[in-house]
């Protein structure tokens, strides 16, 4: 540890914080100097978010001291943190969904009033930072990627001396991420300090000049990521564990999903799919930047949005366009939506009750309208056992689980039913590396047992790793599908940004 009189912007000494019996942070020493881009690495649940919440005043440490520019400080509220010059982009968005984009950003512009003038001002600022936004749209209509841009813009407008970015790139395109990195480097060159939390080691190696690695609430090491090998860093993060998904060759069988001339338009989103056929044993990847119709595609497949004619979507040879989610589940089609909390699981309900929610058509669990409670509990237990869900008890509310564990639970809940067709949106979003590998392995083994899987994801590496075929969704139009080995990352990037007309390839 450096002596007290360093020029550190922020320094934590022996910080400790626990929630009940869970120790989130223990004796954490951490510092960022001006001009530094400092990576904070660790699995989900390693204590990164807690440490950052302490620094930006959202939580108070149980023990230890914080130093801001060499002075011992107590950051008692987020307001104080902001006034001191600490800005944070949260992983879970802190946006006001009912307000417009402009109004959300207005909070970060001193003295800004609402109205048309504000929208113009915001367009100019967004342009300056290279982040595209539509000021008048209400936030609830936006995709995760679009929301992320607003969060980042909001933080940048406060010109903080210390900027904390919690997984900022998970929903950005490579181009958007590059622009963000340029902005971050510019800030660092001007003498600002940056804390960068990410699961993507490649980004960290490109961007950061130092790194602190956390595991189970304690600092297990620090390094210069530019000179340390990714393998070494990964080992520090995970301990010594295997992190490689296993791919098994698979046979394909009959047609499980067919989409023919599907055209829909709901609110501001549109969807257009000429034809798509998915065979048993096949994993089909849908790539694309957030906000290009992924939500609508998922809703159309799951039956949350019905479409006409009914035979534009065919599951297991049954036209289902006019059939709701439970009717489709009865055909052995299962669905895992993007949002864990609120869409895939009800936050305040127990894991057991959340298990029931997608099992109402399962005759083993519900017969003649009566729930077999014991079988339901067994089922929930099996899910958490099979998919290594760490949880504080099956009777506890879903919101008590960490993101990665809840994701394993909601994916596992559908996998356990051995569906004939599985549609999953962002299977590993915001999930730590090890959980992500587990989820991908489970998907691959499900396909190996003869299921058809459609994966919608913004993580290209993930899609390239598990998909057999891949197509790009751009502005609601699904391009032509090609086997994965015929794609290159460059071609995908171009198709995703609409720079290349991917309909010409057949």
């Amino acid at each position: 540890m450096s002596p007290a009189k360093t020029s550190a912007l922020i320094e934590t000494r022996q910080i400790g914080k626990s929630f009940g019996k869970t120790i989130a942070n223990q004796n954490i020493d951490f510092q960022v100097v001006p001009g530094q881009i400092h990576a904070l690495l660790g699995e989900n649940g390693a204590g990164k978010s807690t440490l950052m919440k302490i620094i930006c005043g959202l939580q108070q440490p149980d023990s230890g001291t914080l130093f801001w520019k060499g002075q011992a400080v107590e950051i008692s509220s987020p307001k104080l943190a902001r006034a001191m010059g600490i800005g944070m982009v949260h992983q879970h968005f802190a946006l006001f969904e009912g307000l417009s984009v402009a109004e959300n950003i207005a909070f970060s512009i001193d003295g800004a009033v609402q109205g048309p003038a504000l929208e113009k001002k915001i367009l100019a600022l967004a342009d300056k930072f290279g982040l595209a936004v539509e000021p008048h749209r209400p936030v609830f209509e936006l995709s995760a990627g679009e929301r992320q841009r607003i969060e980042i813009l909001r933080a940048l407008l406060q010109t903080p001396e210390l900027l904390i970015l919690d997984e900022p790139t998970s929903v950005l395109t490579p181009q958007e991420a590059d622009q963000l990195f340029d902005t971050v480097r510019k800030l660092a060159n001007e003498g600002h300090g940056v804390v960068f939390i990410s699961h993507k080691l490649k980004e960290v190696r490109d961007l950061c000049d130092s790194a602190t690695i956390l595991r189970a609430g304690t600092v297990v090491g620090s390094c210069d990521p530019r000179t340390t090998s990714p393998e070494e860093i990964a080992e520090l993060m995970l301990g010594s564990r295997e992190i490689k998904a296993v791919s098994t060759p698979r046979d394909t069988g009959g047609e499980r999903l067919r989409i023919q001339n599907l055209t829909m338009s709901v609110d501001a989103q549109s969807l257009q799919i000429e034809s798509l056929s998915l065979l048993a044993g096949e994993i089909f990847g849908v790539a694309g930047v957030a906000g290009n119709g992924q939500e609508l595609l998922f809703a159309a497949l799951s039956g949350e949005q019905l479409c006409r004619p009914a035979d534009s979507i065919v599951i297991n040879n049954e036209p289902v366009g006019a059939t709701g989610p439970n009717g489709r589940r009865a055909l052995q089609a299962m669905f895992v939506p993007e949002e864990r909390l609120g869409h895939a699981a009800v936050p305040h309900m127990s894991l057991i009750d959340n298990t029931l929610l997608t099992n109402v058509t399962n005759p083993d669990i519900v017969s003649r309208g009566i729930v077999n409670r014991q079988r339901l509990i067994d089922n929930a237990g099996q899910i958490s056992e099979r998919f290594e869900v760490r949880h504080p008890g099956l009777k506890r509310a879903a919101q008590n689980l960490s993101g990665g564990n809840l994701q394993k639970f909601v994916v596992g809940r559908e996998l356990l039913k051995q569906p004939a067709l599985l549609v999953v949106n962002q299977p590993t979003w915001g999930v730590d590396a090890l959980s992500a590998v587990r989820i991908r392995e489970a998907l691959l083994s499900l396909a190996g047992s003869g299921s058809a899987i459609l994966v919608i994801s913004q993580d290209l590496d993930e899609l390239l790793e598990i998909s057999d075929r891949l197509a790009v969704l751009h502005q609601g139009v699904l391009g032509n599908a090609r086997p994965v080995h015929e794609w290159t990352v460059e071609a995908l990037g171009l198709a995703m940004t609409g720079s290349e007309d991917n309909h010409d390839h057949s």
Binding site: L58, Q59, Q60, S77, P78, K79, L80, R82, H90, A94, L95, F96, E97, G98, L99, E103, A106, F107, G111, A112, V113, Q114, G115, P138, F140, E141, D267
Partner: protein
């Protein structure tokens, strides 16, 4: 003027008399709900406001002589009721309403009690308190003057103009100022607003006080301009004001339209014999339920448009806020 146009003027005047308290109370509660608080105690706050407005006016020797508001409506001559007296009585009513609201604010914001439970309690408390204090003060129940026709109210009463001016003002403050932005942010997502550094409970408390003051004014209008004080003089207008906010999807202009539609329906209901002499009793009874039916129909229609609800309804409405420890 022909007989018809006199009748029309009387009808409009009655509509204004009935709509104004609805509008005042609903506008106040609109701001409260926009900040994420559901205060079901509007009826109670209106009653308390009505009582204290009446007591203040009574002490200023005003009740029997609203000379400049209502010519010829002066039975007991005591002293001329001045405009200043009227304002003092209104201030007393607003203060009383705000004080009762402060109780609600303390329980829901300070002690984080359930909004619905406390709000219902407030309505019951307000009704009981105004009854017992009222009968202590006046001894016996007043027999109220039934919807008297006061054409001069149209264009003369300050509170009518105030309520109309409040509509664009509240719209402007909510939609075009920083204060309004903060209020809506607190009502939309209190956790995010807290993370941005706003004092959620304090902002909500001030909004609750404003709502209470507006409800107090609404009650005062009823007893100072329209009818005499009696037990339960607000006859459920506080509840109707709550429905009116849903009817208007939290938009001041629509709340204004709703208030006047309700007022007009109500006024014509009291003049059914003049309007439709041939109608049977059943039809007249049906018309009396019109405001309620209309609210239900509008609610069904707007709930078919989830986007509109999402954009206008405060998402944290009625949820107690617990700051992270």
């Amino acid at each position: 003027m022909s007989v018809d146009s006199i009748f029309l003027l009387k009808l409009l005047t009655a509509a204004i008399l009935l709509a104004t308290p609805l509008l005042l109370a609903a506008l106040g509660e609109l701001v409260v709900e926009k900040s994420g608080v559901l205060n079901l105690g509007v009826e109670g706050m209106m009653l308390i406001g009505a009582l204290f407005g009446y007591i203040a006016a009574y002490n200023l020797q005003t009740i029997t002589c609203l000379e400049e508001l209502v010519p010829g409506f002066c039975q007991k001559e005591e002293r001329v009721f001045t405009f200043a007296d009227y304002i003092i009585a209104l201030l007393a009513a607003a203060t009383a309403g705000a004080l009762l609201a402060a109780v609600f604010g303390f329980l829901t914001q300070g002690l984080r009690a359930n909004h619905v439970a406390v709000g219902l309690g407030l309505s019951i408390l307000g009704a009981g308190l105004s009854n017992s204090l009222g009968s202590n003060f006046f001894g016996v129940n007043y027999t109220s003057v039934q919807v008297a026709d006061h054409p001069e109210v149209f264009g003369k009463d300050a509170l009518v103009w105030f309520s109309l001016a409040a509509v664009p003002t509240i719209w402007y403050v909510l939609q075009r100022t920083r204060l309004g932005l903060v209020i809506r942010a607190v009502g939309e997502n209190h956790d995010s607003a807290y993370a941005l550094g706003y004092r959620v409970s304090r902002i909500r408390f001030y909004c609750i006080l404003f709502g209470g003051a507006m409800a107090g004014l609404a009650g005062a209008f009823i007893v100072l301009v329209h009818v005499d004080w009696k037990e339960g003089v607000t006859v459920g207008k506080g509840w109707l004001a709550l429905a009116l906010i849903l009817f208007g999807t939290w938009r001041p202009m629509r709340v204004l339209c709703g208030a006047y539609i309700f007022g007009l329906l109500w006024a014509s209901e009291l003049r059914l014999d003049n309007l439709f002499p041939a109608w049977q009793l059943e039809w007249k009874t049906l018309l009396t339920t019109a405001p309620y039916l209309l609210t239900i129909i509008v609610l069904v229609l707007i709930s078919r448009n989830p986007r509109m609800i999402r954009q206008n309804a405060p998402a944290s409405l009625g949820k107690p806020f617990n700051p992270p420890s």
